[in-house]
Structure formats: C-alpha cells, structure tokens
C-alpha cells in the first residue's frame, strides 16, 4: 500500500532571497529579517535567506529587505519549505538539479545589478547592447559576398604559390 502523505506548512509560501553584494552579507540580511520578521520563518544560507510564512507577511519582509540594497538583492519562489529532507544536499549526496541553474545565474548577477542601477540613474542602453540581447538568428553572410571573398582568397594563395615557386627555383639554380 502506498504511504499517505500529510503536508506541512500548508498555505505558506517560501521565497529565496539571494544577495550578491559588496556591502551586504547573508548575515546582515538575516539580522534585518529577524528584526522585522513578524512571525515568518527565516533560514540563513550561503547565498542569502529562505523566508517562509503567510504570503502577505513574507511580502512585507521582502519589501523591507529589498530596500537594504535594491540592486543586489534578488527574490524567487521556492516550492519546498526550508531544510526539506527531500531537497537537502546532505540526503541526496549532491546538489538538487535546480542548484546548478542558480549557480549559473549567480554568475550573471553583476551585469543585472549594474543594469538596474544604471537604469535607475536614467541611463539608456546603447544600440549595440540592445541588439546583443535581442533574440534573433545570427545573420548569415550573403552568398555573393562569400563568393567574392573566396575568389580573392584563392587569387591570393595562387600568387603566393607562384612567388614561393620562383623562390624555390632560384635556390635549385
């Protein structure tokens, strides 16, 4: 018979709060979070915090935390409550798959933080950058242009061969 499952923390939400800041550490975040916690559960992690509680309470805490460093604090939903055995590294032997995705995006956060700050300061993105983040197929070289290049390259190498040949001949002489 399958085992019955009785969930815990029903009706709550859990959010990850990531901090990638030169000024604020996960410890700073957690101290502030405890000050304003209003009954929500707070768990400190290597990258920031996990906050669990009723949705509106969690939102209030997060809004206050964001104020500490709006450009370097990022927030995301989590399906599991903190420390859940099913997702815990200690039980799985290795990280759960989602961890690697976070690891990947953490590497990009500095660009995002700079972007957020610049935007706040009214800086407009340049055309090259807008083009770079726009999703489109890599433009292919026009076939006629490709042919031109090929023809000029083959001429070049033919000329080079002729020169080397002449040089060789001169040696054998």
């Amino acid at each position: 018979m399958p085992k019955e499952y009785n969930p815990e923390f029903v009706g709550t939400v859990t959010k990850y709060v990531f901090v990638e800041s030169p000024d604020i550490t996960p410890q700073h975040l957690s101290i502030r979070a405890y000050e304003i916690s209003q009954g929500v559960m707070i768990k400190e992690t290597c990258f920031g915090l996990q906050i669990t509680g009723m949705p509106e309470d969690v939102e209030k805490v997060i809004a206050a935390l964001r104020e500490m460093d709006p450009y370097h604090i990022l927030v995301k939903d989590r399906g599991f409550p903190p420390g859940d055995k099913r997702r815990c590294r200690a039980n799985l032997g290795g990280a759960r798959p989602g961890y690697f995705g976070h690891e990947f995006e953490m590497g990009l956060l500095r660009h995002i933080s700079k972007g957020l700050k610049a935007m706040e300061n009214g800086v407009k993105p340049n055309e090259k950058s807008v083009n770079a983040i726009t999703y489109h197929d890599k433009p292919l070289l026009d076939t006629e242009r490709l042919e031109e290049i090929a023809v000029s390259k083959s001429r070049e190498s033919a000329n080079k061969e002729a020169d080397t040949g002449a040089a060789n001949n001169s040696i054998t002489k």
Partner: protein
C-alpha cells in the same frame, strides 16, 4: 557496524524519474536490498568542463549533468559502490547518452553498472532484481570469485515457466530435476526429490542450499537456504563455470520464459546487464506457442527449425499477438513447418537482439543458457545475428541451479565454523 550492515551506495545518473513520478520506486528498490541511491556531487564548472571533454552534444541539461556525474565517478572524485543509469523510455537523446555513459563507466572503472529506461508505470518490483544484482556485485565479490564447487550442495532455480534443481558433489553434477512451474513450493519439492533420487542422496546429506529465480524467496525461506540470490549474478557465474570460461570476457544470454537477460561478464562477474523485454513475443513463451501450433513438442522445435529456412517466412513477434497472427498466416499460406519453425526462432532472436543486446557490449564468447538454449534453431539464428559461434555449455538448461549450488558451497565452511 560490520560490512554486511553498511549500505551499498548506488550513484544515480538520470534524466526524468522525478518528473515521471518514479524516483520513489527507484529509492524503494534500493532500500529493499540494503542500498541507497545518491547523486554524485559536482559543480556547475564540472558540468561545463566534463560535458565538453566527453564530447557528446546532448542538449538536455539533466543529461549534461549525468555526464559530469559519470566523469566524477570515473575520475574517482566521488566514490560509489555501483551505478544506476535511468532515463525515459522512448527518448532517443537520452538513450544515446545512457548507452555511452554505461560503456564509458564499464570501460574505465570497476564499478558495476545497470541502465534502465523507465515509464511512469515502472515499479520498485521491476527494479528489484537489478538492484539486487548491483548490490551483490558491489559487495559480495569474494563470494562471486568462487570457481570450484566443494562438498554436497543443492541449487534450486524457480523460474516463471519451469523449476529446476541440481545437486553437486565435489565439483560434479550428480543429480538434476526439472518440472514445469505450477505451485512454487510443490514444484520445488518435485525437482529436489528427483535430483536426490538421481544422486542417490538424502536431504540430510546436503551441506548447503542456494535458490534463485522468481520463487527464490519463498523456497529459500522454507528450505532455510544459505544463499537466496537473483538470477543475473547466479546465471553469469553458472554460465562461465559450465562453459569453462571463468577468466576474461564473455557475454551471457538467457532467453527466459517471461523475460530475457543479457549480461556482459568479466571474470565471471557481471559488468553491465539488461533484463526484461517488451513483450512475451521476444521470449521462450512465443516458441512454446509456435511448437503447440505446429503440433510438435518443444524439444522437437529446434531440430525442425534447423531444417528450415527462416527468411522464407515473414514473421515479427515484437508483439506476441501479431507474432501469432503471422504464424497462423504463414501456415495458411502453405509454408512448411520447418520454415515456420525457423522463422519463429529468427523472430525471437531478432527481438532480443534489437531490444536488449544493444544495451550491453557483446564480447566473445557468447554463451547461451536457460531452457531455450536447447532449441538449436534459436541458437543458430542468434549466432547468425551476432556473427559469432554461440557456446551452449552442458547442463545449460540448469544454469541457475548450477550457479546456486556453486555459490552455496562457499557457505559450507562458514557453517562448520558456526557449529
């Protein structure tokens, strides 16, 4: 905690079991044989590096992760006792990665590997025999190293179609028994009595007992067997023992009554193996049906097939129902019994070849065992497909019993010490 209590750590390389709802089944199968699944710990940097170095351009990130985890196992940065590779059935991308990782680990480490493609219907029961074999290979290498039978031992193989018993004495087979399986315990009693009579021995003469096959637990518990062991390791051991190929590489093929086993063996110990089969159309059951339809005894099917030409009759037993249909059609069209028998053998060999032998590396010698290995037509067709001469050792139909009796003799000394 002694060695027997220590859990066997099985590294899982997979894509899809969590989202198919079958991760629990994998964990339960492992727990049932005192093993635990774990995910080798790697970093994102490892994933990028390993994936690039391995050179297989999988697009699915979870498969890239599986590649990195496999490399960590081979490099030795993560320790494991065995490896379980699982991906979704019908995913071609995953099938390529699964096969290449299995081969990579097998060729570059001593870790036993089993690969499996699951559906949402996969249960822990289906996985149990595989897990048991994995843990046995990982933890009982000393037991599997036995090359000679000593004393007087009894081996019982309770298969889905037939029950077999063998009594061995001083490295010789001295008694055998064989009967179709009806009630598991009753069938076992019959074959044990037959084997004892043939050997001229009494039950009290037996020094150790081993059981294998589907009914192994039931019989093993009743008879207080010294070793109750799944058929993958037992048959490998029995096959190389009987074929006198205990050292080096070999491939063991056992086309059973309900499922088939293909095992790549190194020094008598399974390295990689597959078990199962999509339909009974790829099993001995289809040949049994064929012989009934042809009105011949199953023992006559092989010689009959040897006289026929398999390519004269189109037959595809991917599904046993369609296979039977083409059998009926062939006879209605006036094909000879010989040709039909040969075609049935070819069809079963083809199904095993296509569905299972692709999952193991075929290394010579290829040893065919089990009841179906006595059907010469089937052995012939398998040899033709594999382009090799297939070895059928003596007593090949008793393979499980011989393997069990051989392994059981390892317990005689232990028992003496205990007395």
């Amino acid at each position: 905690m002694n060695d027997a209590d220590q859990k066997v750590r099985v590294a899982q390389l997979s894509c899809g079991p969590e989202h198919s709802g079958v991760q629990k089944e994998i964990d339960e199968a492992a727990a049932a044989v005192n093993a635990e699944m774990f995910f080798p710990d790697v970093t994102l940097k490892d994933v990028k590096k390993a994936y690039k170095e391995f050179g297989l351009e999988a697009r699915s990130a979870d498969l890239k992760l599986a590649i990195a985890r496999a490399k960590a196992l081979v490099d030795g940065s993560v320790e494991a006792d065995a490896v379980f590779i699982a991906t979704c059935f019908r995913c071609s991308e995953a099938a390529i990665v699964r096969n290449e990782l299995r081969r990579y680990i097998h060729n570059n480490s001593t870790l036993p590997v089993v690969s499996y493609s699951f559906t949402e219907r996969t249960t822990s029961g289906t996985l149990l025999t595989r897990m048991e074999a994995l843990t046995t290979i990982a933890k009982r290498r000393a037991l599997l190293a036995r090359e000679k039978q000593v004393g007087i031992t009894l081996g019982i193989d309770s298969g889905s179609a037939t029950t077999k018993a063998v009594i061995m004495k001083d490295n010789e087979i001295v008694g055998t028994g064989w009967t179709p399986t009806t009630e598991v315990l009753k069938s076992a009693d019959i074959v044990v009595n037959d084997a004892l009579t043939m050997a001229g021995l009494k039950m009290s003469d037996i020094q150790a007992i081993g059981t294998t096959g589907y009914g192994r637990y039931l019989i093993g518990e009743k008879m207080k067997a010294d070793i109750i062991q799944e058929e993958l390791t037992v048959n490998s051991k029995g096959a190389v023992y009987l074929a006198d190929r205990q050292h080096g590489e070999a491939t063991v093929i056992d086309i059973g009554g309900m499922d088939n086993k293909a095992i790549s063996v190194q020094d008598g110990i399974p390295g990689t193996f597959t078990m199962g089969g999509i339909c009974a159309g790829a099993s001995g059951r289809f040949l049994e049906m064929t012989s009934k339809r042809l009105g011949v005894d199953i023992t006559e099917l092989g010689p009959l097939a040897m006289k026929g030409l398999s390519k004269e009759v189109p037959m595809n037993s991917y599904c046993i129902v369609f296979g039977t249909q083409s059998l009926v059609n062939a006879l209605a069209e006036g094909h000879s019994k010989e040709n039909v028998a040969a075609a049935a053998c070819r069809s079963v060999a083809e199904q095993v070849f296509e569905q299972q032998l692709q999952e193991v590396d075929i290394k010579e010698p290829v040893i065919m065992v089990g009841g179906t290995s006595l059907i010469a037509g089937l052995v012939n067709e398998m040899g033709r497909l594999l382009q090799t001469e297939v070895v059928v050792p003596p007593y090949s139909q008793y393979i499980g019993s011989v393997g069990s009796a051989l392994l059981a003799s390892g317990f005689i000394d232990e028992k003496k010490k205990g007395e």
